[in-house]
Symmetry: C2
Subunit: 343 residues, 2 copies
């Protein structure tokens, strides 16, 4: 799909937008439904947002698909996680056997789940000593993510991730995009104690120092500091935008994976690149709330979860379904012959 990094960067400067016509139709419909104006709060916003991206007055959320990418990280050799890297492959097996949290949630809610391990036996390079990926390696996984989205006929999608060490990667990317030292983005991840978080922050600082002068565009940020699963998600979110497919973002790692997309060619932050995305859940991982604020995203849920896998987005998808059900099925005041308010 993308043969060269410049092609990917060009796509970011020429993104399709939502349909203003259908957004307005949905807005008008909301005003006529049998409830006080605005009384469904964010459910109304969600329905109107979806109407614009799907170009339908009554949007559809029948098919919801989770794309879960897994990758391994060279930086794990710096001792940034309490779990060994082998757990990534073990958890992929667990996903395939149906034993993980995301399996339970997707089954409960009738979402489709695709699990896509990315070269687990070949971790990225340790970002404190080299770029994590070569240009070709990066393009490969960006294209895998984009292809997964292009092959998918869902009405709404979300991304999950699994990769021991990837909150370190995510924190480094967040620092590269929005500034700040490792300490302002590093958190306990799967369960580091305080000393472990301090060490993790210092590892991030070393990576940032090594690559600092080269972190001027989304491709280089992801290539130098990223991981395969994050790059696949970044590619997938762009592919979703190109087909105007709405995306529910999951936790800290998924949000960090898409943050580089907002770094524009003139070095400003362009939040509009993520206009087709909503934030499903704010993670307990401490960097996430700041990351969401920097991106102008207000999470639908804050449930102290910090698991990844797409679990936060899975729950949020049901709120989206609820929003659409009210928007589509409620009677208007005229249909129900109900007296309007005096104000």
């Amino acid at each position: 799909m993308f043969d060269h990094p410049s092609q990917f960067l060009d796509a970011l400067e020429n993104l399709p937008v939502a349909s203003a016509e259908f957004r307005d139709l949905a807005l008008k419909r909301q005003a006529q439904l049998t409830k006080p104006a605005g009384a469904l709060g964010r459910l109304e916003d969600i329905a109107i947002w979806l109407a614009g991206w799907q170009a339908r007055e009554k949007p559809v959320v029948d098919r919801v698909t989770a794309l879960l990418f897994a990758g391994n990280h060279g930086v794990v050799e710096e001792g940034v996680s309490p779990f060994p890297a082998s757990v990534t492959a073990q958890m992929v097996e667990n996903f395939k056997q149906g034993g993980a949290a995301i399996n339970a949630l997707t089954q409960q809610f009738g979402h489709e789940l695709s699990v896509i391990p990315l070269d687990l036996e070949r971790p990225t390079r340790n970002m404190t000593v080299d770029a994590a990926m070569s240009e070709d390696e990066l393009l490969d996984v960006i294209n895998i993510g984009a292809a997964a989205v292009n092959d998918c006929s869902a009405d709404v999608i979300y991304f999950g991730e699994m990769g021991i060490g990837n909150t370190t990667t995510a924190a480094a990317i967040a620092a590269a995009v929005f500034g700040g030292e490792g300490a302002s983005w590093a958190g306990p991840g799967t369960g580091l104690e305080k000393a472990g978080v301090v060490h993790k922050a210092s590892v991030i600082d070393r990576a940032l120092a090594l690559h600092r002068s080269e972190l001027s565009n989304p491709v280089e940020i992801m290539r130098r500091l990223g991981g395969r699963e994050l790059a696949a998600i970044m590619g997938g979110v762009v592919a979703a935008r190109l087909k105007r497919l709405p995306v529910i973002l999951d936790g800290f790692v998924v949000t960090a994976a898409v943050a580089p997309l907002c770094v524009s060619a003139d070095q400003r932050i362009k939040r509009d690149v993520l206009a087709h995305c909503i934030a499903g859940h704010c993670s307990a991982e401490p960097g996430h709330i700041r990351l969401l604020e920097e991106l102008g995203l207000k999470p639908l849920l804050t449930l102290d979860m910090r698991l990844g896998e797409g679990t936060g987005a899975a729950l949020a998808a049901e709120l989206v379904r609820g929003a659409v059900s009210t928007h589509n099925q409620m009677a208007t005041f005229a249909e129900a012959q109900i007296s309007g308010g005096e104000v």
Copy 2:
């Protein structure tokens, strides 16, 4: 069910509690599931809470029932709502036709919905001039609420309400239980402008002044300041507790309806009375967040909704289902043969 107010008050002093044994079993199970300890955050708390109340290591949320009570309020003659009282009956008809927000949500999520109008042609008395209900009138609706719960074989229930004027009633009850003037609890309800909210607060203050010396127990608070739908919910929540049935609370009005239950015989606030309840959603109605804080309840959702009908609880019920699905279906570390963390 309750022949006399004293019987109702006695029940509150002798409430059954959750099973510590099954709560502990659920807690132990959570520690073995394939995720970092605590990584599912509030989902874990929900599953453990349900396990205790249902007395099952693996709780069940197959059947979810919404009980929606509607009532009319004499205080509407004071001009506290932009909508006329006739809208209550019109909305009940809308519920029966399937055109309201709660219909859309219960249908989307497969919840059962019962709509129970309470003497709509006979509003309660205007609380600024008299007690809203007689003792018999109050007991009647408490028992209707309790009977609806007793007849219900759901795994989890929630309550909805509809009643033009009932945010005024709810604010008066909140003030009676937790103190403060009308202004600290009154909000726009269905859409009052600022001047309307000021007037509403003054109406509440008049009611509080009239009844102040008699507001020493749950029955008198509800009888003097309440409404039929609120009393039915209060009765239903006690009946649920007596059968150890978990309850998801909805918005400001439902929460206010159960707040009097926490006023104990010795005039202290006993939050444990609501231990079988979780807060589904924090309403945009400004008094709700304070009310939840006073009751020690942390809402699962905050989506700027302010509609009532049970809509906030309906959405929260799907989070509860998600919580239980992870708790029940996830593999343990041993089952999945996954390496544990080092911390």
